[in-house]
């Protein structure tokens, strides 16, 4: 029914223009000895082209054996093939400090019956029964792969070999890489590591296979959708995120134009061992078992929006392979190799495998940096220590008790509640290492649940409400929690978003709601059921290890999808020590958090947590009155608040009565959080809290405290003309190094500290005891940000840019992605923006670059106070003022009515969005809305 056909060169049947990005010189026809005789394979092999360029086998750093899936062909690997060739020209950059991109030879066969390889003879259409037939099986395809490799890699090859696969090709490549028997009797090649894109090596019989495949496997649908019509092909090619260009789709379809060419597509689907009796079942189980016992390192690159290769297959691989890292692309899909540039992570990982870990042994007694973690004390130490104290642990002004008084709880009560809830968690199956998504609004319930989760050794997954529903859903999916704790809104989100994890409610719900929401229990239920019971530590109820994960934080504010920032118990312990030190916490200290998440820290640092009456997610709703009332109720000594909250406090200060003013005069410490406070606002705040030290710490989710500046220093530097915002000197335990920017705005490989770092515009690189343990499931981000190894310490490239002044004070001038690169040299936008911001006519300003890096035109986008000025080109007088305010050559001054800023801080400018807009307008386009 399907006739045999030999392998073909794509360019013998196609105009090369029909294969964009493909070089005809890569094509080889290889004859290999397979299990059933000599077969012809069309193979992408960049070896000959490298040789033509004078790069012989001994000059090649590594060989990548890449295996496509169904229904694609080796066209899928054209970018990685090109990158391997570009690396030989020195044109691939792996990032600062990451070393030279390896020169790789890519060998990517088209599988039999697929791509431009030989078509086998088939007397019938494929069927899902999986009975013996002429269609290739998994086991045969693994042998086929080795046969091709044997033909192309000579015995004298010394370059390390890595496997790479996608979809069903992922299974085949992983199976080949871990099957020593196949290789030793064949090619004799020993792979050094494995890379796979979306794939699946195992699913339990009870675990339904993904719906799209079930449909494809159903009876006559199989051959109808895969062979007789191109439906399966079209459906797969529609999975691009973003959609594939038409010419790329055409290129993928090129080898599958007629039904005679599509037998392999159906054969592949039929070979999915959906049932226990399927003929490939054992082969698949064998691959799975090999992966469970392999010591080879593996890299997974995963597009999360894949309707077939669902997250559960990813988790299976993460559990199964011992030495594995993953980069999960939250907004990419099944065709990841089309959706994103995977060549940099692939080459970067291979570089690391070739180099090994060269990190010097760290000095564990060092007083500064990542290893200076001090004595470990668990986050619940104060809850244990003060388990009988009747002093206040929490005051929450948003909740009133039966008598209308603000809610209060003692340390004793909080301690016993946390114990009881922890026992409940344990009894209901929560285990150390379980991830627990906390979809609970900040307040007493979240505090109790959080400390109980930490106690049990669970990993708290905290998602900032500022991410919005989509952002939170993506974040939770990525974290893949075993548990979700929420109130009705959170649990509904979990249900609608079909999020993973067993559900726990906060309050005990009625049976109907319990069933609808799929609840396994409630926090309040645990608190009463297990009241009075102490939690461990026992063999049954062990304490977590300091190096175990404690939390994964997803915060909003920066551009792009939120990254999961991973902390261990030890790093959080170091953080609490640092907070105690910076805040001068002593017994009786009381912390009023005008920024809700900080209220969570109170129990860990041994301070009373006071929550004022305000909207949890809107800092600007904090009034002077509610601040003062909370201070009175909580005997507050210190306040944590964002600039937006402080602005509103100052604006509503006229409402304060004498008692309230007196209460504020008792405050000894005020910290601004999230963004720098302008000096005029700081001075106004100080009039309300005249006895307070006003501190503005500099930090980020990756290390909450890095440096700190008090108001005395703020006043002392007022006359300086440094660029940017001064954030003071680094904490005594922190090491802050600089990676100076070159002319094109790239950070240097080498780090500079102390006198060598003064007055150099640089990316800020930190090493602190309380820094992140890494980003969760973001291999490539970790590779790029955790690249330095000075003194054996862990370092983090922050992406912030700035400089040190001659007194060792740090000044922040923006983010690396905001660097402007005119031909006169790279600079940060912060400085010129400050200059222009001083103009009385300007409300906000952003400096962005348009055009190619190294020769950008500088654009000032301004939001004038005068709303009557039309968006677009600024009037001459306004342009003159803006240009006169700064010493850079501004190509254009554009007016907008709204410079976009982030929601939470209302201060971080979205410069990439503005740059895109400016580029469009200045290309001669219409002045569109932002």
């Amino acid at each position: 029914m399907i006739s045999p056909k030999p392998a073909q060169y794509p360019h013998s049947v196609l105009d090369p223009l029909q294969l964009p990005g493909w070089d005809p010189r890569w094509s080889q026809i290889v004859e290999a000895e397979t299990c059933d005789g000599t077969r012809q394979f069309h193979v992408l092999d960049t070896g000959p082209m490298l040789a033509d360029r004078g790069i012989g086998p001994d000059d090649i750093d590594a060989i990548v054996i890449a295996v496509h899936g169904n229904p694609t062909w080796s066209y899928l690997w054209r970018h990685i093939a090109q990158a391997g060739l570009e690396a030989a020209q020195g044109n691939v950059e792996l990032g600062p400090g990451a070393g030279r991109a390896p020169v790789i030879r890519v060998i990517a066969p088209d599988q039999l019956d697929m791509g431009f390889s030989e078509r086998l003879e088939h007397t019938s259409l494929p069927s899902a029964a999986g009975s013996s037939s002429s269609y290739r099986t998994l086991e045969q395809r693994i042998y086929d792969l080795d046969a091709v490799v044997a033909e192309l890699i000579s015995d004298s090859n010394k370059a390390p070999v890595f496997s790479l696969g996608h979809d069903w090709g992922g299974i085949i490549s992983l199976g080949w890489a871990t099957d020593a028997d196949v290789r030793s009797s064949g090619s004799g090649v020993e792979p050094s590591g494995m890379i796979s894109l979306n794939t699946a090596v195992w699913h339990e019989e009870s675990d339904p296979i993904p719906a799209p495949l079930q449909a494809a496997l159903a009876g006559p649908v199989l051959s109808g959708s895969t062979v007789v019509t191109p439906a399966f092909l079209d459906t797969t090619l529609a999975l691009g995120q973003p959609a594939l260009a038409k010419d790329i789709k055409t290129a993928y379809k090129a080898p599958y134009r007629g039904r005679q060419d599509r037998g392999g597509i159906g054969g592949f689907v039929a070979d999915i061992p959906a049932t226990e009796s399927h003929r490939s079942r054992n082969a698949l189980r064998k691959v799975a078992n090999q992966l469970s016992s392999t010591e080879k390192p593996a890299l997974l690159l995963w597009g999360a929006k894949d309707p077939v290769f669902l997250d559960r297959y990813q988790h299976d691989l993460l559990q199964r392979i011992d030495d594995v890292v993953i980069h999960r692309y939250n907004t990419a899909g099944h065709l990841l190799a089309e959706d994103r540039d995977i060549s940099v992570p692939v080459l970067g990982w291979i570089r690391q495998q070739l180099d090994g870990d060269n990190r010097p042994t760290p000095d564990l007694t060092a007083a500064r940096g990542s290893e200076a973690v001090g004595d470990y004390s668990p986050l619940w130490s104060f809850l244990d220590q003060w388990s009988e104290s009747s002093t206040k642990a929490m005051v929450d002004m948003t909740i009133n008790d039966a008598h209308g008084k603000p809610f209060e709880v003692t340390w004793a009560k909080l301690s016993s509640m946390v114990d009881a809830i922890a026992v409940g968690f344990r009894e209901n199956g929560m285990r150390p290492g379980d991830r627990v998504s906390m979809l609970v609004e900040p307040g007493r319930d979240l505090t109790a649940a959080l400390y109980a989760v930490l106690r049990v050794g669970g990993v708290a997954v905290v998602t900032d409400a500022g991410l919005g529903v989509d952002g939170m859903t993506r974040a939770i999916r990525s974290a893949a929690p075993q548990w979700i704790i929420g109130q009705t809104p959170g649990l509904s989100l979990a249900r609608i978003g079909n999020l993973p994890g067993k559900r726990l409610s906060v309050k005990t719900m009625d049976p109907i709601a319990r069933r609808v929401l799929g609840l396994s229990g409630s926090i309040y239920g645990f608190a009463s059921t297990y009241a009075g019971q102490q939690y461990g530590p026992t063999a049954e109820q062990p304490d977590p290890n300091p190096t175990d994960d404690a939390a994964i934080l997803f915060t909003s504010g920066s551009t792009g999808p939120a990254k999961g920032v991973r902390y261990t118990h030890q790093k959080l312990s170091a953080l609490t020590q640092r907070l105690q030190h910076t805040l001068h916490v002593e017994p009786g200290s009381s912390l009023l958090a005008g920024f809700a998440p900080f209220a969570l820290l109170g129990p860990a640092i041994g301070a009373t947590s006071v929550t004022p009456n305000m909207s949890v997610t809107k800092p600007a709703t904090l009034t002077a009155k509610s601040l003062a009332q909370a201070a009175i109720a909580g005997d507050t000594t210190m306040i944590f608040a964002s600039p937006a909250a402080l602005r509103n406090v100052v604006d509503t200060a006229h409402e304060l009565n004498t008692e309230q003013r007196t209460a504020l005069e008792q405050i000894s410490m005020l910290l601004s959080a999230g963004a720098p406070v302008p000096v005029p606002l700081m001075n106004e705040v100080l009039e309300l809290v005249p006895n307070a030290e006003f501190h503005s710490p500099y930090g980020m989710t990756e290390s909450l405290l890095i440096s700190d500046i008090d108001h005395h220093t703020q006043h002392a530097i007022a006359g300086r003309d440094d660029r940017g915002v001064c954030v003071g000197k680094p904490l005594d335990v922190a090491r802050v190094a600089m990676a100076p920017l070159d002319f094109l705005g790239r950070s240097s490989d080498e780090l500079f500290e102390g006198d060598n770092a003064v007055n150099k515009l640089a990316e800020i690189v930190i090493s602190t005891p309380h820094m992140l343990a890494g980003y969760d499931k973001l291999y490539n981000t970790n590779r790029q940000t955790r690249v330095d190894s000075v003194d054996g310490l862990q370092w983090h490239r922050t992406g912030d840019i700035g400089h040190f002044d001659e007194h060792g004070r740090l000044w922040i001038e923006g983010r690396t992605q905001h660097i402007v690169t005119p031909s006169t040299g790279a600079f940060g936008p912060g400085g010129p923006e400050d200059d222009i911001q001083r103009l009385p006519s300007i409300n906000r300003v952003a400096i962005v670059g348009v055009g190619p890096v190294g020769t950008q035109a500088i654009v000032a986008v301004v939001e004038p106070h005068d709303g009557d000025i039309k968006p677009g080109l600024a009037p001459s007088a306004l342009s003159d003022d803006v240009r006169a305010a700064t010493d850079i050559d501004i190509a254009a001054v554009l007016v907008t009515h709204r410079v976009p800023v982030d929601i939470r801080h209302n201060s971080k400018i979205n410069r990439p969005l503005l740059a895109e807009w400016a580029e469009k307008v200045l290309a001669g386009g219409k002045v569109t809305a932002l």
């Binding site: 035109a857 001459s876 254009a892 200045l922 290309a923 001669g924």
Partner: protein, 339 residues
């Protein structure tokens, strides 16, 4: 408006002992180059049809299209700066071909046979421009087939002729100044000022397209510098700009104001202006009027798409930077037209 050439103090190297032919010295650029070289000690010969009005140079009146005149002009020269061209934005194809292609070929042939060793060829960025936006790009190869309009197409062909003649013995460097302006420039500056004074100068789509321009004095100094640079780098084309792109609307406004006009305010959509430009061009051709049309398709494109360039290679090869900033240029223009 009566036009007069401004006399600038040019800053250049010493060119004593050089024998230089400058063609097209009746124009503001050619006369500036001739003056600058004269002041730098060179023996300067100028060739153009009308009187140059320059002192201290050897003047030949005639056309580059005439082989005899060309042969005569290159005698004893070591360097040719070829500026002469038909530059207006309307006219018959034949007129352009005669000057920009055949004239170049004639002079090249003469120069190659008489021992000239340096050829500085003044071209235009439009030779490589097919109508799309140019955003921070380097000089692309000239292409007569895709260049828009008679001027650009013939200049492209002329540039290719010059580059084809390049060798170690006959070193060719092509410079493409982009939108030159300044005191005495009739091509752009005085048209803008005139039309702005008559309120006949439209801005297109808000005039936001970012364009590079070049102040005249800087153009002159760059061209003179190229006589040194061509000894080490030759056989390529370089775009020449002030390295300070500005929105076209702002440039026009500022030139108009520097010339004493009111700020132009008439705002036309680009599509309409392009269509109108074609109609007007055809009309002017048919009437054979001596005046230029108020706006042409070419200008409409110039004014509604970005045109700005990467100047790093140009500045590195010429060892030159524009000495007069745009702001200083506006001041000088104001002084010139104010007095």
């Amino acid at each position: 408006m009566t036009s007069s050439h401004a006399s600038f103090q040019y800053v250049t190297d010493d060119f004593t002992g050089y024998n230089v032919l400058v063609t097209g010295a009746s124009g503001v650029l050619g006369s500036g180059v001739a003056q600058a070289l004269r002041d730098a000690g060179a023996q300067v010969t100028v060739l153009q049809r009308s009187a140059s009005g320059l002192d201290g140079v050897h003047e030949i009146r005639g056309s580059v299209t005439d082989p005899e005149t060309a042969h005569h002009a290159v005698q004893g020269m070591d360097t040719v700066v070829h500026i002469a061209a038909k530059v207006s934005v309307s006219g018959s194809a034949k007129e352009y071909e005669q000057v920009n292609i055949e004239g170049t070929r004639t002079l090249l042939t003469a120069a190659q046979t008489t021992g000239v060793s340096r050829w500085i060829h003044i071209s235009s960025p439009s030779v490589a421009h097919s109508g799309a936006s140019i955003i921070g790009a380097e000089a692309e190869p000239a292409n007569p087939d895709t260049a828009r309009g008679n001027y650009a197409a013939t200049k492209a062909a002329g540039e290719l002729l010059a580059l084809a003649a390049d060798s170690e013995q006959f070193r060719v460097l092509v410079l493409r100044p982009h939108l030159m302006w300044g005191p005495g420039d009739t091509q752009l500056t005085e048209r803008i000022i005139d039309r702005a004074r008559q309120n006949r100068l439209p801005l297109l789509d808000g005039g936001t397209a970012l364009v590079d321009t070049l102040f005249l004095l800087n153009a002159v100094e760059a061209i003179v510098t190229a006589i040194n640079a061509v000894d080490t780098t030759h056989g390529e084309a370089l775009v020449l700009t002030n390295g300070q792109p500005r929105p076209i609307g702002e440039m026009i406004r500022r030139i108009a104001v520097a010339g004493g006009a009111e700020e132009p305010t008439l705002d036309l959509p680009a599509g309409l202006a392009k269509a109108a430009g074609s109609v007007i061009e055809a009309f002017w051709d048919a009437e054979k009027r001596g005046d230029e049309p108020p706006i042409t398709r070419f200008l409409a494109e110039q004014m509604s798409t970005a045109h700005w360039f990467d100047q790093r290679r140009t500045q590195r090869i010429l060892q030159w930077k524009p000495r007069i900033s745009l702001e200083e240029g506006f001041q000088l223009t104001k002084q010139h037209y104010g007095s």
